[in-house]
Symmetry: D2
Subunit: 462 residues, 4 copies
């Protein structure tokens, strides 16, 4: 219909169609589109814009359209520009002339803005569930491996001993922030755009309050121009997804490292390992790598839409169509990576001996800070203690000894204030227990933090 307006019915140029038609992408929004249309129809009737029997006929027709979509799917009909026109056209086929009333007091501009917000709500709900599932997996691993210890790395150099649970809970903190962001962005988008029409509002005595309530939004649109111009909610979702995937990329990188033979800290289950087409021995962490790559994918989508929207005057411009693909592709990515990461974490097994060996490797001196702290407790200024221990380490490296191999005399040669108990202070368990202030890796602290996360998850999660 709209397509035939120009060119004496000859319709758009095929190259125009190839670029312009969004049906192949937006047909996935049919559920949202139908939900919006139902609410719109009910509101029109409640406001007296259409008659009750027209309402009933339209609602029955929309049910039929939904059944057709569900059963036959929506074909990529080259004569149909988008999902909205497919619904309208199919409705006309099943419901007859009354279908022409569906678009009363509504424009594609407010309609698509609504569909995207409804789809966003679904994707955010899924993302939050996926985050919770992953948090559950992290909590489960922490609970099941309370005593495991591994080195904390800074600059991928061994720094100090930490509990595996403490390390896993660090990832949980990042994910809790992701959940908070998802929640907040939905709140920022919790506005029903129906009623904006093409951008100036509608001339019918409609009540946007009704559609807003019907569709469970907190409030109806505040400004019609903004309602059709705004794609912040897609951008904010893409940005939040990017941060989330950056977090997954860090965890993915660690899985790759931990399962590399040089580390050997962990092993992925068979169901999460890949073979090679040529090397019979390979056991590859493909899923962890793809989670790592997902940060690029989501970031790219954010850039695509931010760049497309940049510099557009109000109100609706066709450039905004890019937001549909960005929303769907971002949602799809999260749908793939969150369960994958949860599955990997849930199934991963640990080689506690390899981890412990890394901590106790005498060449790594992961207790050097503890020795410096010991000196401080005996009155040495930290900066001085740091220097003395640094010299001691340099000397020990030359002598090919670890800290534990040194005699008290050797220690005192560089650290004259070292106490009789200096050596006994240099134990892994002592080092862990000593880090007992808030946020530290002391077993009691980690147990506390884990219990708090478990309680939060039991209460529905972040």
């Amino acid at each position: 219909m709209l397509r035939e307006r120009f060119a004496g019915g000859s319709g758009p140029d095929p190259a125009f169609d190839a670029l312009n038609r969004s049906l192949p992408v937006d047909r996935r929004l049919v559920t949202e589109d139908l939900a919006g249309s139902r609410a719109h129809v009910r509101m029109l009737a409640a406001c007296g814009v259409i008659a009750p029997e027209e309402r009933d006929a339209l609602l029955a027709g929309l049910d039929q359209v939904e059944a057709i979509a569900r059963e036959k799917g929506i074909p990529d009909d080259p004569k149909v520009e988008d999902v909205h026109l497919w619904v309208e056209r199919t409705l006309a086929e099943v419901a007859g002339a009354v279908a022409g009333k569906l678009h009363t007091a509504r424009s594609r501009n407010d309609q698509v803005a609504l569909d995207l917000r409804l789809a966003l709500r679904k994707f955010v709900g899924e993302a939050r569930a996926g985050i919770r599932e992953l948090l559950q997996a992290l909590a489960g691993q922490a609970r099941g491996n309370l005593a495991l210890v591994l080195p904390l790395y800074t600059h991928l150099q061994r720094a100090q001993p930490v509990l595996l649970g403490h390390h896993l809970l660090a990832h949980a903190e990042a994910l809790r922030r992701d959940a908070a962001r998802m929640k907040d962005l939905l709140r920022h988008a919790d506005v029903c755009p129906l009623g904006a029409g093409a951008g100036a509002g509608t001339t019918y005595p409609t009540r946007p309050e009704l559609t807003s309530q019907d569709l469970v939004f907190s409030e109806p649109l505040r400004n019609s121009i903004d309602a059709v111009s705004d794609r912040d909610f897609v951008l904010e979702f893409a940005a939040a997804a990017t941060l989330l995937c950056v977090h997954l990329s860090r965890l993915g990188e660690e899985i790759v490292l931990w399962t590399a033979p040089e580390f050997g800290f962990a092993r992925l289950p068979d169901a999460w390992s890949s073979g090679s087409s040529i090397m019979p021995q390979k056991r590859n962490p493909d899923a962890a790598e793809l989670c790592r790559a997902s940060a690029g994918r989501t970031l790219g989508r954010f850039v695509a839409l931010a760049t497309a929207v940049k510099g557009l005057p109000l109100s609706y411009n066709k450039d905004l169509q890019e937001s549909t693909a960005v929303l769907l592709e971002t949602g799809d990515t999260l749908r793939q990576v969150l369960p994958a990461m949860a599955g990997m974490i849930a199934g991963i097994t640990w080689d506690s001996a390899r981890m412990r060996a890394a901590v106790e490797d005498p060449r790594s001196f992961v207790l050097a800070t503890d020795l410096a702290d010991h000196l401080v407790r005996r009155g040495v200024a930290f900066r001085v203690a740091h220097g003395q221990v640094a010299n001691l380490v340099t000397w020990a490296e030359g002598a090919r000894k670890g800290l534990g191999d040194l005699s008290l005399d050797e220690i005192r040669k560089h650290c004259p204030q070292a106490g009789e108990d200096a050596k006994s202070a240099l134990s892994v368990e002592g080092a862990l227990a000593a880090r007992a202030s808030r946020g530290g890796t002391a077993p009691a602290r980690v147990a506390q933090a884990l219990a708090a996360l478990e309680a939060e998850l039991a209460a529905g999660g972040p």
Copy 2:
């Protein structure tokens, strides 16, 4: 000091220094660094880690360091790696050996995480003030030009008449969301990282709760590894700044359009116009263009940091240093563009005649929707009415007539159900008034929305 650890005192390679030294950038964080050090010193004393007189000596020394920074600035001394070491070194000069105690129970890792969070707080505060200033300017223009009308554009084609105030308030809605995002991201970052040490916590009997309270955070760190690994807050700030600048880019584009001679809707004051080096007549909207370009700048910063952080294993890695530049550069950009846009908007003047002429231009048919709606009210299904009016418009274009030029007979030739009052329904003021449902451009609605914004601003703003 740290620099001399290696190479037998010969120090780092000059090319290493050129890449690694962050003093030229992070010396701007000296205020935050000193604030954090003071709180740390007070906490150390409260916990008995240092003596009261050491505390007093350190605090007095830090005051002296601040005075030096304020009066002489911080020179880009090639022997000093970063601002933290500059403070420590300067403190040693003014306070003597006690300076060596400052770094007790603290690492550069938690220290820099704190400094960045404090700087973020400042930048967000400024951004929110800048947004409010701009909202004030928009509200002022809306208040001062209540009766002005211009075309709403979709696809930069004239669509329907709207009030200028309605259009300006659309931008205000976007900015209100920006303010909400700024507020929320600060909440997500409202955690004091001090106490994380290098990443595992500290072995001293410290109380992170005290530094957290002292520095007015909501809570101390929850996990030491996360505390030193996390740069979400810079990323989230850069993302929020990008959305904000995308909004400014849209307003900037409109200023460029409105002040172009073809539109002629507005004129920038002299204090916001630029000349040309060669064309004596030019009056260029440079500031609007630079606001438009700022979306690229902030987006680029977000990409820079997201890409740098992607794939990093926990905990601290030097790559995170990129966050300092991203935070400062993003904050600086907002400092420039928000006042500029507020200044332009406050000073812009309107050519109401040009706007009105654009609305009434008979070739633009901005009341065509109203005629279709008129037909609907007389029982025609919307889709049918839309088709009839489309045909009428096509005919009128051929006849070089506007809708207002048509006789009722001419209208009825394409729209047989048109009523006697069809022509009187085709008035700009009628079209405006009819869009009276929530969010619409009817004068009463716009007055209501403006009053609400003014009240919000009077109450402190979003």
Copy 3:
């Protein structure tokens, strides 16, 4: 087959499959994959690794596989990981046990690197043809509208008069650079990766020189590790596509502006215009807007891949799989936007009167520079002349006069050295003709430049 290696045949976790399987995307590479396999088979036989009759059986089988793919398509079989395994499995069905020899001396790692390079070659060829088509359209419009004049805009303010042909040829210059980039990037990628195996080379007495020649590459791989690790060619294509789409976005923006009623310089043909779902009068430049948005899309793809590859150790990592989607999506975008822009440009019509009126609009003073130049020719230093004319313009604006409306006396009040012929110097045609040095808008120069472009296109184009 590979999928069953782990988990005692129970196969990968469904969530792993959902993330990992690339068949839905890479089945589009089947033609390239088959071409590579044929060349590989011929090489294996030529080197004696397989027997001639095995070669023949494999080639015949590959023909059958191609026929199956062409006739039935490649179903998204959840048991098949990617297109390479689909080919291998289908080959086994049609050719029997000999199919097991296809993968001799080859790995998926060098195979996918080859397929992507072959697909790149196709996409670049198409892009270059699309650029030439668009250049043809621009040249055609310039040729058909040699005498049309419009304002040159800087800052979207009118600056000086130029020929429409000169303006269109500016876009042609940008596109010529795009063509050069496309050509060069193909040259950088003109290396056949077959022979790299998994990354170390192969143990068979193969001759990569033969496959390289067979597949028309300039040279075989130089380093096997690089051959499987390198995705520069996709990144470079995405970057070149971004620049190309940035150019299209600028032209798209101008089409949007020119067809806006305020400018009214141009009209899109019906076959390139869209209607509105609600506003019967609308005539929207959707295709121009989508071309504008394509810069975001291509930029986003570049960012996605650059971020995914960043920080990967050599050699192959699964993250590189992102390159397939980036290549295909980028190629698809160019396939859509180049013909669309060519179609729009070929069909656009000009309103020479509106353009001329914009040039002659007395308020725009587009000849002010010419007056300054007149003064310079009479001995005034340019900076002085610029200042005098600026003052004259300010005065004329106040007096609501254009330059052409001023008497010589009025001119001389601000520009005392103005000659008797000052006024006659102020003609549009004079201004055009005067800009006669290389690259200028003088009609003779533009004719020359147009002829050069036409000759280049006739010779095959850039």
Copy 4:
């Protein structure tokens, strides 16, 4: 001067200035600006636009300006908008009224386009030199460590043995492409924009050919509008720098991995290692991490400019000012990372025993492919052989044996066609030597490739 045109001399709003003034950034272009001005002055005189004595006075003045810039630097004078006006103003101070003639037949629009191109040329020259230096370091390490062997990794899992030299030369291939891109982009930018004026050309009888030759460009501008609108060359430089830094990020990641204690393949010299503020034992690869992060930085700059330029109508718009910062910041980044990477590579030392141990680690089965290939040579189809060896490996893993530990009988239990020489075929040196086709890791091939690179570098490098 230009700044005082508006507002009755009261000048721009301070907030406008804060946004608009580019002097703090573009004063770094003073050398380029002066070079361009000198060529322009000589051309003006050669064309008779200025007199010989004016030329001489201007050239002498420009020398004085340069001396002032060199000796005193260019202060960030708030009254001066940019470097071009600083030069003009300073010239007026030293040369008097003749300075007013400098801007004849030139606009800031073509002037800044020239300055950027000259700066680009310098940066590209530096980048190419930096790439060559890094290639030299890689070649030096390969030459000095010809016999070292380490595992090739795919998915960070050990795959097959390779020579260290082969691995280093893989990075060299990537860098050779970077050099080619740098060379080509300079060719694409090899056009002198002087003569474009504000965008339409100039009315003076100038000869752009002369300035083009004087400044050693291949040709003068082809189209004046394009000459002032085009920033492709900055974008292309940023894109090429991004690819280069992505390569450095991969090498940086490997340095981080290799120097991690778990790998222990390499050790950075003291002059390229960093300590920790708190952990006395640390030896951090900060420079490698910063090289890794540089990919984000350069990518962000590309995004910033591409987004800023997107959707701009021709010709010059102020948004293009972003290109100055992008060019300088990108150039600066390359100036830092290329020498740093060259320094690290030149100084790194290898632990051949750790590498060899990783290759020979029986758990890693890096010769499994060779066993499969052995079976193929005995008539087994590759896919069958692959399956047999995979089963053998699974069995051996269970039995905690490496391939070398297996008896021929054990091998034949899974691989019945294994020959008597099966075991002797399973040697690292044999595996290396067997990969002898083009691009493979066989010692003879690597020696050949290294010699070729050395010859290329001796001849001036890529």
